[in-house]
């Protein structure tokens, strides 16, 4: 059987295309999503785009490399980026210089801002002070995902940048961020909450039929689970929030449509490991179901070996010969060490390839771009540039 190679994902073309306005990097935790998003943003900026990178939880030194010191929701210009040597060297001198901004998401503040935008000042104050709101805005499973998408919508509306690169939150499952906005908005304008706030008005026959019991059972059980005081907080919160329900739904819908709109591209980031690629597989299927525009898979941390022609088996055999012959001889010791390492790395390359092939077998049409494994953690612009180069030498 002929080996099936996936189509190549041309990230450079994607970022050069002015119609590309949003790139969403998603994938499971620990695969290098943030670094990839930052590297793509930098490369696009140095090719003339005006880019903002929205990150959720960057490594400290990576954040520092982009001039980010705090979670303050403000896009900041990253110094040392622009139409410089890179563009000139490659002969695209006609393009004007680009720019790179970066920001870190402050989810609570983003939530507060939505409340302030949709409620009159008195009511906003009341909501912001409610203990239930405070807990919801800082810890509800999904708030971070929802706020990341909300922020993306805001940045897009602001229209100050021609490319937004967003790094999705490190969810337990890569799929959470698609569901979270709807889950939260479903909750916030859900019937259940209305039931809680206005039992006299809404607690009607429909619920009686479904439940085969009185409305009292619902509140009764909730009181048992949550306690009276908490239920009261929820009720106060919900009545204060009442005017905003429509707003929440509208915003969630807007963001959802934005994700599906032309000009948005999803990149699924994965490491060539089974777990990460399994998540990537689910993600690809899910994006497809939702009609989200998937550009392709970025395979990060791919092991590359300079001496490709020396097989693992030959290398290991040669190491054994050396070891047996002269255990004290310095040149032979050094060569044996090099050969053993090389054999290990060739085996790792083979294992990674097998794993990647399984993905391609299941998704033969998904384009793939590879980023070689870096010897060290990336913590400056040069490191990010280095990663971006992977998109050039295809």
């Amino acid at each position: 059987m002929a080996e099936r190679r996936p189509p190549e994902l041309d990230v450079d073309r994607l970022i050069a295309d002015r119609r590309t306005r949003i790139i969403v990097c998603c994938g499971s935790g620990g695969v290098g999503k943030t670094t990839t998003a930052a590297a793509i943003g930098l490369r696009a900026a140095e090719r003339g785009r005006h880019v903002v990178v929205l990150t959720v939880d960057p490594a400290r030194r990576l954040a520092q490399s982009m001039g980010l010191t705090s979670l303050d929701n403000t896009p900041r210009l990253v110094p040392g980026v622009g139409g410089d040597a890179t563009t000139a060297q490659e002969g695209n001198g006609a393009e004007s210089a680009g720019s790179l901004h970066a920001m870190m998401l402050d989810m609570k503040r983003t939530f507060d801002e939505i409340v302030e935008a949709h409620a009159d000042p008195d009511r906003a104050t009341q909501i912001l002070a409610n203990p239930f709101y405070q807990s919801l805005s800082s810890s509800f499973a999904g708030t971070q995902e929802y706020m990341a998408m909300e922020k993306l919508g805001q940045l897009r509306r602001a229209d100050e940048w021609d490319l937004i690169v967003v790094d999705t939150p490190p969810s337990r499952s890569a799929l959470d961020f698609l569901d979270a906005p709807q889950r939260l908005s479903r909750f916030l304008d859900g019937r259940l909450l209305r039931l809680l706030t206005a039992p006299a008005k809404v607690g009607g026959r429909a619920y009686l039929r479904v439940l085969n019991a009185g409305f009292g059972v619902v509140t009764g059980v909730l009181t048992k689970i949550l306690g009276t005081a908490m239920l009261k907080d929820v009720q106060t919160f919900v009545s204060a929030l009442d005017t905003m329900f429509g707003g929440f739904r509208e915003r969630a819908d807007y963001t959802y449509q934005l994700l599906r709109a032309p000009g948005t591209s999803f990149l699924v980031v994965a490491a060539p490991e089974e777990d990460a690629l399994r998540e990537a597989s689910y993600f690809v299927d899910r994006l497809d179901q939702e009609g989200m525009p998937l550009a392709g898979l970025v395979l990060n941390r791919v092991q590359r070996v300079p001496a490709v022609h020396l097989s693992a088996a030959r290398s290991r055999a040669a190491a054994e010969v050396l070891q047996a012959a002269a255990p004290e001889d310095a040149p032979r010791l050094l060569a044996a060490a090099a050969l053993r390492l090389h054999a290990d790395r060739m085996e790792e390359v083979a294992a990674q390839r097998r794993t990647a092939k399984q993905f391609t077998a299941a998704h033969p049409l998904i384009p793939v771009a590879e980023i070689p494994a870096q010897a060290e953690d990336v913590h400056d612009l040069d490191g990010l540039r280095q990663i971006g180069m992977a998109f050039g030498d295809r």
Partner: protein, 336 residues
């Protein structure tokens, strides 16, 4: 039963956390196998609904029920005991809780259909965590007539490092919301177990900046909070050094003696030894730079003052065999 010293004698609840991609679930599984040596009975609990344990042990998806999934690590003197697994989801835990305390199972099921459970477990912050840790606490305390405690140890594959403190410190959040009432009472009972000397939190990491930082932050947070004991740091996926430590610096800076390397390669009968030497020197140099980076991260971990265990990198799909290998390494280092 033979007794031997481990670093965690007397601990019954092992909470295992780690950043995504560090192999947290794998390590939790290996720890359960290691703890189940010497005929012990161990429960492995998953709380994030990913069916990671089922995949790890290559068994069908696990329900909300305790199922025997593996035999513990065998030793020279004893056969391995039993490892049971449970996937705890908040909704089932809530229904069980309602049944246990209020005989409300029927109502619970009806409410689930209406989305009330979704509300109560997903939306009401903290409640979800109380229910999940509550299930682990219950398993730790459970007794039967014959042998006292049902489980010798419980291992929890817990949420990632970034969320672990909040996850375990259930009462803080719940008390903000439920100042009184049954959930508050339940949370207090759970916290008693979590804060007892019978519970420790192990951190799984790899020697990269971000996971190491999260590990250090996590340990510092637990210390600051007080009451919940940090446990071991399990450094996963470590690789052996290709070169003796004395040569690392030179290799990292690309100053290896390539002529010498070429000479050695020639002695091994490999063609074009000069070109090959250049390529292999580059490979050695890359690995040396990585190794020096790892050394730096290991030094940072050492400042935490917690016992550190090293687990080797296993290539490809580690499989059940690999899992026992990791279990054995944990036992040898007295992590179990």
């Amino acid at each position: 039963m033979a007794t031997r010293d481990t670093d965690w004698d007397g601990v019954r609840l092992h909470v295992v956390t780690g950043k995504g991609g560090t192999g947290k679930t794998t390590v939790a599984g290996a720890l359960a196998l290691a703890l189940a040596a010497d005929g012990k009975k161990v429960l492995l609990i998953e709380v994030e609904g990913r069916q990671g344990i089922a995949q790890l042990f290559d068994v069908p998806p696990l329900p909300y029920a305790e199922r025997r999934i593996a035999v513990g690590l065998g030793t020279q003197s004893h056969q391995g005991g039993d490892v049971f697994a449970l996937v705890a989801d908040p909704e089932s835990a809530l229904i069980e809780y309602l049944e246990m305390f209020y005989s409300l199972r029927h109502a619970g099921t009806a409410l689930a259909k209406l989305g009330v459970m979704d509300f109560a477990t997903t939306i009401a912050p903290g409640l979800r965590d109380v229910l999940l840790t509550g299930k682990a606490a219950e398993a730790v305390r459970r007794k039967d007539d014959k042998r006292g405690r049902v489980y010798d140890a419980v291992v929890m594959d817990a949420p990632p490092t970034g969320r672990i403190t909040r996850f375990l410190n259930v009462t803080t959040e719940v008390s903000d919301l439920a100042r009184v009432g049954p959930i508050r009472g339940h949370a207090d009972t759970v916290l008693k177990v979590i804060r007892s000397p019978e519970t420790v939190v192990h951190f799984v990491t790899v020697l990269e900046e971000m996971p190491v930082q999260e590990t250090l932050d996590g340990i510092a947070e637990l210390r600051e909070l007080g009451g919940i004991r940090p446990g071991g740091i399990i450094v996963n996926m470590t690789r052996p050094l290709a070169l003796p430590p004395s040569q690392l610096q030179a290799a990292a800076h690309g100053e290896l003696d390539q002529a010498q390397l070429a000479l050695g390669l020639k002695a091994a009968g490999l063609d074009d030894s000069a070109t090959l030497a250049t390529a292999l020197a580059a490979e050695l140099s890359e690995q040396a730079r990585t190794a020096l980076g790892h050394e730096l991260q290991q030094q940072r971990l050492d400042t935490a003052g917690q016992p550190c265990y090293q687990l080797p990198w296993l290539s490809g799909d580690i499989g059940l065999g690999g899992l026992y290998q990791l279990a054995s390494a944990l036992r040898d280092q007295k992590a179990a």
